[in-house]
Point group: C2
Chain length 320, copies 2
């Protein structure tokens, strides 16, 4: 199993063939060799189809969600921060991206919690992309709303890509904020927010049943920096202003208070009040470096449900 490509490319496999191969392999328990002979393929081809099916989420592996590997931490966090539900997954091995595993847990949770005709809001980042891959495939009924403006370059963390992946997995219709994540100026931002297409989407936020939020940290590990979502200058400036990260475009300090900063004036996203009016806010983020922004998000009232990993969970409980 590969780890790097959080959102696999558009490597399409013929669903009917893939379904048959996977059925024989996973459900009947035949070997790849047997499957190959039965269908007249080479073993290599069967092997490739199976790998791809796993990588793209065509085939999913689900662990009984009623039992957690870290039940103790979950209970402590729930009590400590007054959360409705907490899922803590084991900290991954060093060479594995924590976003993949936390995203997997988030995808599974959303699959279980999302009603057949619910509307879900999502943000951006690798965790959200990984969640999309772990959504149980379904047909029709749902609506996906992207809560924040897009980035210009496509990629595994872009809001547009994430929203599209979500919608595709759910067979949902999708609404995008047709504006950049950061406008060039506060004036342009205001103009865009008032413009018809953006206003219409943001007005939809109050109809959202549930939102899956991720946390963007501003530590030196920040993937936003790596992927160029924000510039190094902006990063420094935000840190100097006491910002520990952002959640759905809300830039927060360590106590969870919104910080006043030029960039905040340029963000195109749902505002704090709109977010807080959503019935269930699910915050999914893991890794020790995310602990400060997770804490800030909880304090800001942006998390009813927390999905994280052991490392972040321990930091959250310790650093008091």
């Amino acid at each position: 199993m590969d780890v790097m490509p959080i959102a696999a490319g558009a490597d399409e496999l013929d669903p009917e063939i893939a379904a048959r191969v996977c059925w024989h392999y996973f459900k009947e328990g035949q070997t790849q060799e047997e499957v190959a002979q039965r269908l007249g393929f080479t073993r290599k081809r069967v092997n490739r189809i199976i790998s791809q099916a796993l990588a793209t989420g065509f085939v999913q592996i689900t662990i009984d969600s009623r039992y957690g590997a870290c039940a103790e931490l979950e209970a402590q966090l729930k009590a400590r921060f007054g959360l409705r539900l907490v899922k803590v997954v084991p900290a991954p091995a060093p060479d594995i991206d924590v976003r993949t595993v936390v995203g997997a847990a988030a995808g599974q949770y959303i699959s279980e919690a999302l009603g057949p005709s619910d509307t879900i809001g999502i943000t951006w980042g690798g965790t959200i992309g990984a969640a999309a891959q772990n959504l149980r495939r379904r047909t029709g009924g749902n609506t996906v709303v992207s809560l924040i403006g897009g980035l210009a370059t496509s990629g595994p963390i872009n809001p547009y890509d994430n929203a599209a992946a979500f919608a595709r997995a759910l067979g949902a219709t999708c609404r995008y904020v047709t504006a950049p994540m950061f406008a060039d100026s506060p004036q342009l931002r205001d103009a865009l927010i008032r413009s018809t297409p953006v206003r219409e989407i943001l007005d939809q936020v109050r109809f959202i049943d549930r939102a899956l939020l991720s946390a963007i940290d501003l530590t030196s590990h920040s993937k936003a920096l790596v992927y160029g979502a924000i510039s190094a200058d902006t990063w420094r400036s935000l840190r100097n202003a006491g910002v520990v990260g952002d959640i759905a475009g809300q830039y927060l300090d360590a106590k969870g208070r919104p910080v006043s900063h030029p960039i905040v004036e340029r963000v195109i996203a749902a505002d704090l009040e709109q977010l807080r009016s959503i019935g269930e806010l699910v915050l999914a983020a893991g890794g020790a470096h995310k602990a400060p922004i997770i804490r800030a998000g909880i304090l800001a009232g942006l998390a009813h449900v927390l999905i994280t990993d052991e490392a972040a969970a321990q930091m959250l409980l310790e650093a008091d």
Copy 2:
């Protein structure tokens, strides 16, 4: 993967340990050896836990249900018999029990279709047991109702065991028909059906949202015979009366008409009218030998949704 034990024994594994092992193995993609080292277990132990987790349904593998390996057959059956939905799975290799694979498909379908507080009625047989193992685990909310009286000896096809397995997987409350499948006499049957506990259950049938029915055939392959659910004499006598099998205690001829026969007077189960009043009847049965009773069930109005395998599907389409 083993095939014989349709309903695995009560081999309990510590859910917390199992969750952790399976998480590392399936979600992080580490090898069993690595997992063992990380947790201080032997590789053998990790291997055992993983095998058990798969066998008991603690870990489940799901194939995107929007695509079927046998889409063509599904479309034909749907049109030919006017069904709402048809799922056809590939015919299993000769050494694999068809009930396991059809049951797997049935479990997946039910998991997807069952609302969070729905009541589901079920019957008995290996297919139902296999379905129970493939239900997505959830908590609370549902109610399972057994639609037919029980067998005295516990086992993978017994209505009680099946209902209990279903309820356990769903975290559901369960209602049993506290009476045998066959009363000793028509008089005793009538008395039992009028008795409080049985009457109360059967009255519940009209509150059932959905029922998962299996088909019991009377061919020489009949598992009912193998497991001793019916005697060889009864089997012969039913066949001579033109019975091709039964669905939820309804003994039908090849045209789907209820057959008059002494045993029918002794069956303790929901009656035909009650069954037909259920909003969605899902009939799950596979194997060429089941084709006659499946057809009879459809003709009798006992299937809105059909889940079967290629072999039965082809028989159903051919034999006209």
